[in-house]
Symmetry: C2
Subunit: 197 residues, 2 copies
Amino acid sequence: MRRGKTFVISGPSGVGKSTVLKALLEGREDLYFSVSATTRDPRPGEVDGVHYHFIDADTFRQMIADGQFLEYAEYVGNFYGTPRKYVEEAMAQGKDAVLDIEIVGAGNVKRQMPEAVRVFIAPPSWKELERRLVERGTDSEEKIAKRLLRAKVEFQAAHDYDYFVINDTVEGAVQELNAILTAEHCRPTERMEIING
Amino acid sequence: MRRGKTFVISGPSGVGKSTVLKALLEGREDLYFSVSATTRDPRPGEVDGVHYHFIDADTFRQMIADGQFLEYAEYVGNFYGTPRKYVEEAMAQGKDAVLDIEIVGAGNVKRQMPEAVRVFIAPPSWKELERRLVERGTDSEEKIAKRLLRAKVEFQAAHDYDYFVINDTVEGAVQELNAILTAEHCRPTERMEIING
């Protein structure tokens, strides 16, 4: 049985990454969507192991010390991290692991797992990203300008990503992601058995 | 408009490469299948510009001198080569160029055009390749043994190829090839306009 691969997906705020990932993952038993661990309290409706793995700060610190995170970060007093264990288990079962992680965390995953593939979800244009942020109607003009600037910085930081998927339509973006998943399984390292057989 | 890319396809005798390429190219206006130039005489039914570009030896030699070939070789007294011109024209029109070239020629293309992507069509197993060569019924046992040995040598020489597509079923191989074409257009170099935009 073929082993799964890890795909780290990043993208600026407002690009529609969550919608694309939801559409990609729907009904896909061959994909594992990584669930983060966190030290923050569950919010109403959040289920342990589904939305997050809820763990206490001592456990989190011990897991850091034991190298059990592919990446982790502190955010407003709470820790968030990607446990290595579930990703490894999924890959061993032949599933591709999909990780939704911002750029700095994605870089940490890449250092720990050099064979991980990084994909950046990009808008068709900056104009379109601005339009989407405005349309969402949740942010002030000032906040939108800030998000756009942050998106440009992220874009520059993502120059060493493996792929850029354009979210023009959700279907188009999902098609590109699926093509990347398929193509990456055609890499020579994935087919050594036949090459050497 | 996006620029096309060049994909060089190699594969051992008997693997079913021609069938796969025919299925890939059928009805695809967005793909250009490279036609070789040759100094040999046309055989009955062969059409200039379709099966080969038939040119005389002096023209061929001049084209070599002018760097007009992506690769060329001599085979039983005749020259065969891949004219750079048509490939470049197709890419400028946004078409992906598909080149059917054996390993040594593919290496020459890669040296002249480092951005070219090389794909090796592989059998699901050596046993299966042998079965296909036997089933074809055109070769003696000795010739089949020779072809198998040559295939193994080619496999080793193809270790630096970008992708290995398994021809288990024609549909599966075509799906993998299409995924590779799509994924390669998601490379950062292909999306600089958005990254820098």
